[in-house]
């Protein structure tokens, strides 16, 4: 295990040991060891193709691992799949609602197949629709909803039964910024109201700051696992933010520092801050700089240190390269 222990000494609710999975020549998971504690909000962060969905599919017993074991609340996913599944609520990366049924019918279906008794089922449907702000859409056919709304229905659905662990595989992918924010707000609210473990995968780095622990994966391996703060402290690189007063200064700084990043706002961000750098910049461009500051390390820089790549680039590029999903028109990731 790569640093970071389960918090508070409670028994882990998810235990993964030596998990490996290969698709033909692609090694999707390469020996994953992981344990996740009760009531933890656990983020699985990695670029497209890192193996996140493969790991999730093994956890919810849709896929058999080649090697290793995984346990949910003590139940082995290969040997006791029914019991393991009883502990799970899942929001899949790809849509999985029946679009010809209404919102209510989809939720009720879920309650029935998860054996939620009538009264609790009715109450949960009302509560969860309230949580995701879809009460008025209760009797609408799912196919009439927008992509963001469908996602919210899926989140409500995963919470109809009493799951110990709720897994959300890229719940915000393909959604606009506002919808993404809302979804995280629901998860935050849920966390305060109910005892459960949340496992959320994402390739948006800005989303994982509020999680208890972040596990960075790439090429089927865990690169780092710790709290966001600890990751920053250990792998992050402080950066210098410069606000140039004029264009000449801006181009001057960019020319002198090939690793500098020019932001759209006009600021220049220079990774690897030392006082020497600040002195040099002030010496060279003193009057041309209106503001200069040292920023705490971002999680992007953590990712960059660990993988040598920027996750941002991929997140931005992939959707246009990916084959669009025939049904939803959303990119397949």
């Amino acid at each position: 295990m790569v640093g970071g222990d389960v918090s508070e000494g409670t028994a882990p609710v998810v235990e993964i040991a030596g998990l490996g999975k290969r698709y033909g020549r692609t090694l999707a998971l390469d020996g994953i060891d992981l344990s996740i504690g009760r009531n933890e909000v656990f983020a699985l962060l990695g670029p497209n193709g890192a193996g996140k969905t493969t790991l999730i599919h093994i956890l919810c017993t849709l896929l058999k691992p080649d090697t290793g074991t995984a346990r949910i609340a003590g139940f082995d996913v290969s040997r006791q799949p029914l019991k393991a599944r009883r502990q799970l609520g899942v929001v899949f990366q790809e849509p999985s609602l029946d679009s010809r049924l209404t919102v209510q019918e989809n939720l009720n279906f879920h309650g029935l197949v998860h054996r939620v008794p009538f009264r609790l089922r009715r109450r949960r449907i009302t509560e969860m629709l309230e949580l995701v702000e879809l009460t008025e859409w209760r009797h609408a056919l799912v196919r009439t909803l927008s992509a963001g709304m469908k996602r919210r229905v899926e989140i409500a659905r995963a919470l109809i039964h009493d799951a110990a662990v709720v897994i959300l595989d890229e719940p915000t992918v393909g959604l606009d910024a506002q919808s993404r924010e809302r979804i995280w707000a629901y998860l935050g609210k849920l966390r305060r109201e109910r005892e459960l473990t949340l496992i959320v995968t994402t390739h948006y780095i800005d989303e994982v700051d509020s999680c208890d622990r972040v596990c960075i994966v790439d090429h089927g391996k865990i690169l780092a696992l710790d709290t966001p703060e600890a990751l920053r402290a250990r792998y992050g690189v402080e950066q210098v933010r410069i606000t140039p007063r004029d264009l000449a200064t801006r181009t001057g700084i960019m020319e002198q520092n090939p690793n500098a990043i020019a932001e759209a706002s006009g600021d220049i961000v220079l990774p690897g801050a030392t006082h020497g750098v600040v002195d040099r910049l002030l010496g060279g461009f003193g009057t041309g700089i209106s503001n200069i500051s040292i920023e705490r390390p971002s999680l992007e820089s953590v990712f960059l240190t660990l993988t040598g790549r920027e996750i941002r680039d991929q997140a931005a590029e992939r959707p246009t390269l990916a084959r669009p999903n025939a049904r939803t028109g959303e990119p397949v990731n």
Binding site: V90, L101, R157
Partner: protein
């Protein structure tokens, strides 16, 4: 126990609701018997019973409309059952299957609910054919209707299973059209549905026989016996031992479900 029934009920209910909302399927279920019975049946009716030298000795003592009617029930049940089975592929394609597979329901219950739903819809489409019974001179009052309905439901269940098995195996699946051309129609036409096994209509024609290969195919086709069973019930005519039909229908249902369950458990 009740909890398990709840899950099966949910899957069954979903099938039924989707069928009720699918206008196209309903229109198909209604127009198919109309076309087959009213157009084909009425059109060929005069050619079915030959009267030679004023001496009418029927091999089949019924009109063509009556002869065809039970077969059209089978056709409707078959179409709808297979259509439901094909929807399993869509469930997989469109992700809904994952929702079911991650529930604590055992695979056998999931499949059973699905097939029961398909069988119910297929059965209902079989009943649509019964609505036009009076135009074919088949009197439902004279028949053992409950036995007929039971056989129709059993057949619906069996054919939905068979549809599921085939749908799972045809990998290059391109919609329902392939199915109807490759599976349903050949099975239907070789089930002695639209012509009796014995082509000799009257005594003077007894030497006319069908080629052996055709007779062999018909006898090997299990649907033949299902059609025969329904004919026995609805018009009192059997070409085989009346006991065979119900046994074959039960066998299709049991073997079909077993194979479908084997495939389903292995794949998911």
């Amino acid at each position: 126990m009740l909890g398990a029934l709840g899950g099966i009920y949910a899957i069954w209910l979903r099938e039924v609701k989707r069928a009720i909302r699918d206008r196209g399927q309903f229109i198909g279920g209604l127009s198919r018997p109309l076309v087959w019975v009213l157009i084909l049946g009425i059109g060929l009716n005069p050619y079915f019973r030959a009267e030679i030298y004023g001496d009418v000795r029927f091999v089949v003592p019924y009109t063509y409309l009556q002869f065809l009617f039970p077969a059209v029930i089978v056709l409707n049940v078959m179409y709808t059952g297979v259509q439901s089975a094909v929807s399993m592929i869509w469930d997989r394609e469109f992700g809904f299957l994952k929702e079911v597979l991650t529930s604590p329901m055992p695979r056998s219950h999931i499949l059973f609910g699905k097939i029961l739903g398909g069988a119910t819809v297929a059965f209902a489409h079989g009943c649509l054919v019964l609505l036009i019974a009076q135009f074919t001179d088949v009197s439902l009052r004279m028949t053992d209707l409950y036995l007929g309905l039971l056989l129709m439901f059993g057949l619906g269940f069996g054919l939905t299973c068979v549809g599921a098995v085939i749908a799972n195996r045809i990998r290059s699946f391109e919609g329902f059209g392939v199915f109807s051309n490759v599976v349903i129609l050949p099975l239907y036409f070789t089930s002695s549905s639209i012509f009796p096994l014995n082509p000799a209509l009257s005594g003077s024609q007894t030497r006319v026989v069908y080629p052996e290969w055709l007779v062999a195919v018909i006898k090997a086709n299990p649907v033949t016996y299902a059609v025969d069973a329904l004919r026995g019930v609805f018009i009192g005519f059997n070409q085989f031992d009346p006991g065979i039909g119900p046994v074959v229908i039960a066998a299709i249902a049991i073997v079909g479900f077993a194979v479908a369950l084997f495939d389903f458990s292995r794949q998911s």
